[in-house]
């Protein structure tokens, strides 16, 4: 595991052709690792007649809503938790 709980991470801002489970609205956004879910097969290859191996670590990453949506209307405490695979995360 490259990251651990409490660590600041940024979602890569690259684009991806084909099936992918990293939402576009999060690309380039910075959050904090909340938990490590374990390792799971890679949906980006599994979608194309592959076994999806090697497994990729999956993290629950918590984002402050105001960091994701500059015009967010709610309180500053509001948050968003998204599960992101390790190869989409960079140190922030």
């Amino acid at each position: 595991m490259r990251f651990g709980p409490g660590q600041r991470v940024r979602v890569a801002s690259r684009s991806h052709a084909g099936h992918c489970r990293t939402p576009v609205y999060l690309r380039g956004k910075t959050g904090t690792v909340a938990c490590v879910h374990g390792s799971f097969t890679n949906p980006e290859t599994r979608a194309y007649d592959s076994d999806g191996l090697p497994e990729q670590p999956l993290y629950g990453v918590v984002f402050v809503q105001h960091d994701v949506w500059p015009a967010y209307a709610g309180p500053s405490e509001d948050s968003l938790v998204v599960d992101v695979f390790e190869h989409w995360l960079e140190e922030a």
Binding site: R21, T22, P23, Y25, H37, G38, F40, P43, L58, G60, V62, Q65, V68, W69, Y72, A73, G74, P75, E77, D78, S79, L80, V81, V82, D83, V84, F85
Partner: protein, 216 residues
Amino acid sequence: MGSDHEHPHVHDHPHEPIGHDGEPAAAARVRALEELLVEKGVVTRESVRQGVDWLVSRSPADGARLVARAWVDPRFKERLLADARAAADELGLDAGPSPKVVAVENTDELHNMVVCTLCSCYPRALLGPPPAWYKSLPYRSRAVSEPRAVLAEFGVELDPGVELRVLDSTADVRYLVVPQRPKGTDGLDEKALAALVTRDSMIGVAQPRATEPQLA
């Protein structure tokens, strides 16, 4: 489809497209995909039927049993929040084929709400088939960008002092919300409590009430 495809009959006669009366486009697409997958040996008609049968046999009553047990047994609640699949096993419930099921607790300080922005990931084994609105584009987009407005439309006016946490189930985790036990339910037993736990409250877009609201 091109004109060079193999065809079991000769096209020497005009006719209307052979269709299924009134079939929505999405259903036609699914049917075409299913036919191809059967033809290629990826699935069988029997396995598809079994899958649908399993899905529609699931119900939010299972999730409600987990929540009610957590309300009456704090140690069970700890185990549920630590490992929802193991907790479901304890009650003889099937948490389903998803790799990981996570239960999150609503409190006076934190309200959780679940969405799948990419498709319709949902703890089907414990909640049954997802409602149509859960799969709709407006819910999937607005639940992350303006969740308080969405909650208000569901009738939940969240206090500004309560943190709203939206869980976007993008990958291998399915989320189940453990709502707050309503006030005025001290005298109720576990079974009566389970009857108060609605599907929507386990998605996080509603709060259970001590008695079902009466329609005017």
